[in-house]
């Protein structure tokens, strides 16, 4: 049994508040426009995308050796390297490091991998107090919600929502919606956290095989505040985060923030090579289905993703259905090609949550063929019997109609008659095409009827 609503069901709930949907749509489009402005300032933008894609292709075809090279260099730098086959093992490793130090509290910076592995729930069941330190992450954590966007975790919330949440949990003044005031409250609350936690966990944006160092990018500086004050720094990464050489960062750091938020670079791009003197640093390298995706020729390109979120900001479906409707740690177009690999049954609906317009592919900084992969996933899922029953029946019906000209003709006549004379039969909530839009006015005759009457005359005229 599925625990979650399907994407379309969840989107229908989100769509009930029309004003809020419009606001969500416009907010994300604003970010997408900032991305365009930033990209257009770089004359060689397209060349950069091509280079990034080529570097990532090289990574995919040599990833075994790069990982060994990375491991060996990281160890030489004094970092402890762990390998986790799946989410469960990843969580166990993190917990075992905490246990070894007898620590019950952790400060975390944003990591979509730990969301994917449901680390917070796991640790909290073991009695460990986890505090997310990215402002957006902290907001959704206090509300007991997952992030709705990989770069902008609280993009679905209005400042009034944040104000209420902070009033309840941090004791801020009721009804004070000023972002500056609210951010200051979070700053003070989290500063105390940073100063008292002995273990800090961060994600990894890039891991460099050549040097054994990792790079973490943030605007707030929260990853650094955590890692530089704690005795133990744990960094968790999917194995696809590896890049060959340090100099390749020049390409990815030019692309990442511009694609994500339209900034020329994140405020902090921190390179962690060695632990501080006398302190510990651990890196957990996670598989959790990635090896399987690597083996799927049609879908392995999804492992090139650098998690900028540009595909979400531009996606007309994401913008109008909200991140939570994707019931997956990574939402939007890229999430919809990653999720079926994790669990085909649970996520069979996601590749259908797309218009296949291709906008995601056009903005992807590493040139992942996202909309092609969405289309290919649909073929795979239908073949493997994951299409919803209603859709299967409808498709079979459609096939019969299209294969029989007489039936097609009759169906058209009935359709036009109904739309004209009994419109209530189509203009109702049972008809999915009526949602969010008006039905078109029916024509008086079909094209076939028109062509029978006028075709000869029309052709003759054209041939004159």
């Amino acid at each position: 049994m599925k625990n979650n609503l399907e994407h379309s069901e969840a989107a229908a709930i989100f769509n009930k508040d029309v004003k809020r949907v419009d606001w969500h749509d416009e907010t994300l489009w604003f970010v997408r426009e900032k991305r365009d402005k930033a990209a257009h300032q770089i004359p060689e933008w397209e060349l950069l995308r091509e280079m990034a894609s080529e570097i990532k292709n090289n990574v995919l075809s040599n990833i075994h050796d790069y990982l060994l090279e990375f491991e060996s260099n990281a160890q030489k730098n004094g970092i402890v390297v762990h390998w986790a086959a799946d989410a469960e093992e990843h969580n166990k490793i993190v917990h075992s490091i905490m246990e070894k130090h007898g620590v019950k509290q952790m400060v975390k910076s944003k990591s979509m991998l730990t969301e994917e592995c449901h680390l917070n729930e796991y640790l909290s069941e073991k009695g460990i107090d986890v505090i997310d330190s990215d402002l957006g992450e902290r907001i959704v954590q206090l509300r007991k919600e997952p992030p709705s966007h990989i770069v902008l975790p609280a993009i679905h919330l209005k400042k009034e929502d944040v104000s209420e949440t902070f009033h309840e949990h941090l004791g801020t003044e009721k009804g004070n919606n000023d972002p500056q005031y609210l951010t200051e409250a979070a700053r003070l609350h989290l500063r105390d956290t940073f100063l008292t936690r002995k273990v800090a966990l961060t994600g990894v944006n890039f891991a460099i095989a050549e040097t054994g160092e990792i790079v973490v990018c943030t605007n707030e500086g929260n990853a650094d505040m955590g890692a530089h004050l704690a005795d133990v720094h744990i960094a968790c990464m999917g194995f696809e985060k590896i890049i060959p050489q340090r100099k390749h960062l020049s390409v990815f750091l030019r692309l990442l923030a511009r694609s994500a938020t339209g900034q020329p670079i994140t405020t902090f791009s921190s390179h962690f090579k060695k632990p501080r003197d006398g302190k510990e640093m651990h890196i957990v390298i996670v598989d959790n289905g990635r090896t399987t995706q690597l083996g799927r020729e049609d879908f392995r390109n999804s492992l090139k993703c650098i998690r900028c979120g540009a595909c979400m900001n531009t996606c007309p479906v994401y913008r109008r259905s909200g991140g939570h409707s994707y019931h997956n740690a990574v939402a939007g177009p890229i999430g919809s090609i990653l999720a079926p690999n994790l669990d085909m049954n649970k996520n069979a609906d996601l590749p259908f949550a797309s218009t296949l317009c291709g906008s995601c592919t056009n903005v992807c900084p590493v040139k992942i063929d996202i909309h092609d992969q969405l289309y290919k996933w649909r073929q795979v899922l239908v073949k493997e019997g994951h299409a919803p029953l209603g859709k299967t029946i409808a498709m079979n019906g459609m096939a019969t109609v299209l294969a029989n000209p007489m039936v097609f003709d009759l169906a058209g006549k009935v359709g036009r008659f109904v739309m004209k004379n009994i419109p209530v039969l189509v203009n109702n909530s049972l008809n999915p095409w009526y949602k969010q839009r008006e039905m078109p006015a029916p024509p008086n005759e079909s094209f076939r009827e028109w062509y029978k009457k006028n075709g000869t005359e029309f052709n003759n005229k054209n041939n004159e």
Binding site: S61, R187, P264, T267, T291, R300
Partner: protein
């Protein structure tokens, strides 16, 4: 078998058989623009500020005029010992929580995004650039390069335990996309661009 062995075996089996070669990056970052002007414009655009100065005396004058000298000011630069502590390198990093202003130097800056490259050798303590309320960084004019490609050429195989590019003050836009400076790290960044 360990997870490590299983993962690596599976990767070996599943990675593409045809090897893709690494592209040549030398053709990137060759666009021509006024490096200093670009640096200044971008820095302003991301919430930072700058002052062109001749020498460290000018920095000292500026700090005296613009910052509360009765609050804790620290530096890694011996030239600034008149206005800032220089004997905190071995302190417990948590004790830096009351620092109002930190003055450090950057190895170099990058014009296209106004980022400044600093490593632990210049930071004294890794956390200094983050825990301070305000941050000031000195960079020499001749050390500002055009793009990240020249930046990583400069880094080359430089040895460090920790290094970071800092571009502007700490910021967030997580509340309805309203830009707020001073999320967790420095609330303000001033760059002293020195001859």
């Amino acid at each position: 078998m360990s997870s490590r062995t299983i993962i690596l075996e599976k990767i070996k089996q599943n990675q593409p058989t045809a090897t893709s070669v690494l592209p040549n990056l030398d053709i990137l970052g060759l666009e021509a623009f006024d490096v200093l002007e670009k640096y200044k414009t971008v820095l302003k655009g991301i919430g930072g500020d700058f002052l062109e100065v001749k020498d460290y005396d000018a920095v000292i004058d500026f700090v005296k005029k613009n910052y509360a000298l009765d609050k804790r000011i620290i530096t890694t630069l011996p030239e600034l010992s008149e206005i800032a502590d220089t004997d905190w390198f071995n302190d417990e990093p948590h004790t830096l929580e009351n620092v109002e202003l930190t003055l450090i130097k950057a190895h170099f800056g990058v014009a296209e995004n106004s980022a400044l490259w600093v490593t632990d050798a210049l930071l004294g303590q890794r956390v200094t650039a983050f825990i301070t309320q305000y941050l000031a960084i000195v960079v020499h004019k001749k050390d500002i390069v055009a793009t990240m490609h020249q930046g990583y050429d400069r880094i080359g195989d430089q040895e460090y335990g920790f290094g970071t590019f800092i571009a502007g003050p700490s910021k967030t836009a997580d509340i309805e996309q309203s830009l707020v400076l001073g999320a967790h790290g420095a609330r303000g960044l001033i760059v002293f661009i020195m001859d």
